[in-house]
Amino acid sequence: MRELLERLRVPLLVVLLGALSLVVVASDRRAMARGQADRGFLPGFVLELAAPVEKVLALPAWMTRTAWGRYVSLLDVRDENEQLRARVTELEEQNLQFREALVESGRLQQIAEMRTDFEAPMRPAQVVGQDVSPWFRSVLVDRGGSDGVKSGMPVMTEGGVVGLVTATSPHAGRAMLLLDGQSAVDVLDERSRARGIVRGDGTDRLHFEFFVRGDDVQVGDVVITSGFGGVYPKGLRVGEITEVEPPGERLLQRALLRPAVDFGRLEQVFVLLWRGPTLDLLYEGEGDRPARAGEAGAPGS
């Protein structure tokens, strides 16, 4: 018996470790499906080690890109300046017209209230690394728990939504991008108010699936977060429709979206120090409770 065990110890260990891995995969998949993105101590520990190393390793490339970008932008700066001045004047005029129209229709107050829905403090963070696998889309940022960043907090740029924090350590965080195959966001067509879900597929495009056939969705429409999913605040820009697939016989109609954010050039992002009610409920009582209304950092506070 002992000889048999001796001979089979490697295959037995393979089976044991394989089973252990599969159990973890299954439980993690279940946790992700429930929206619980926090992965515990060990991943945080590895992130904590990885972030400063990746930051240093990426530094030469950042410096080269920044220097080159500054040189190129200097060449065009005068022309661009003139164009921008003209554009600012044009937009100021438009802005005045819109304001008057809004005041007339009484919506200015409503919009001001909507803005307070997601006016939460933001923490700037630098992207220091990306996912080590080409089949998943996430980034490593240099802000973590000690900066108030927690799992479930939205990440954005001035362009729009970037994704969601899925793991943190004291000084680093990992954010799942909208492009990841596991990402789904409840959205609205800004113009027609058609509601649907935007999903990533691991590539550089997004899929917009909307429920009601015949909804007015057109190429060029801007898609924003609806706030209904309880994960992202309402009104953040997600992308622009580039192609609407014919409805066919399906109940769901689909469209392709160009993301509002250039994910190929992510450098600086902002972590919204706010967690939506859905994730708030999931994390309640786990020692990772986000700020509530009335507390510092809460939306609208």
Binding site: S21, V25, D28, R39, V132, Q182
Partner: protein, 175 residues
């Protein structure tokens, strides 16, 4: 034990470097270091330490990726086992066999991710090109990875091979 710990550390540093470089390099053009380490350790360390080291490097990849936790550890385990099983039959010590073997394992890894429901989207128009690029990069990098990990862990202990390597050979009859 020390060479194995160094191998795990080399794997970790390699993964950090890949994470940092991934910002600048096109998708799929960087090697899958966890897979390559598992193959290299399967070639050079046929016993339990090699298996555990490959598994540990797989976990490192899990922690640095957005995939479900444990999936790369499982892939590394399978890659190590496949290398052990194929070493003799396919003569994997020679690059001419190791290169296509690694490309095939890369494709199988993607198939496994798809089986878990987290693989690339089948409608992805760039799927085949990214997969071909990634498999090619892995295949080209594996001889170097094998040499690197071979230098780190050294030659396998001769006593380790017959005692604990995976074999189809049933061995001596039991008494």
């Amino acid at each position: 034990m020390r060479p194995i710990a160094v191998a795990v550390l080399v794997g970790a540093v390699g993964l950090w470097a890949i994470g940092a470089l991934a910002i600048w390099i096109p998708r799929g053009a960087l090697p899958d270091l966890a897979l390559l380490a598992a193959i290299a350790l399967g070639l050079h360390r046929p016993g339990i330490p090699g298996l555990v080291a490959a598994w540990a490097i797989g976990w490192q990849a899990d922690f640095l990726s957005n995939g479900p936790l444990g999936v790369f550890a499982f892939v590394a385990l399978l890659a190590w086992m496949a290398t052990r099983l194929g070493e003799r039959q396919l003569a994997l010590a020679r690059p001419v066999a190791l290169v296509p073997f690694t490309a095939a394992l890369t494709v199988l890894e993607v198939a496994l991710l798809t089986l878990f429901g987290v693989g690339p989207h089948p409608d992805d128009p760039h799927l085949l090109s990214v997969l071909a690029l990634h498999a090619g990069v892995n295949a080209l990098a594996v001889p170097f990875a094998a040499r690197l990990f071979g230098a780190v862990v050294g030659a396998a202990d001769p006593a380790e091979v017959p005692r604990s390597g995976l074999r189809f050979d049933p061995g001596a009859p039991l008494r």
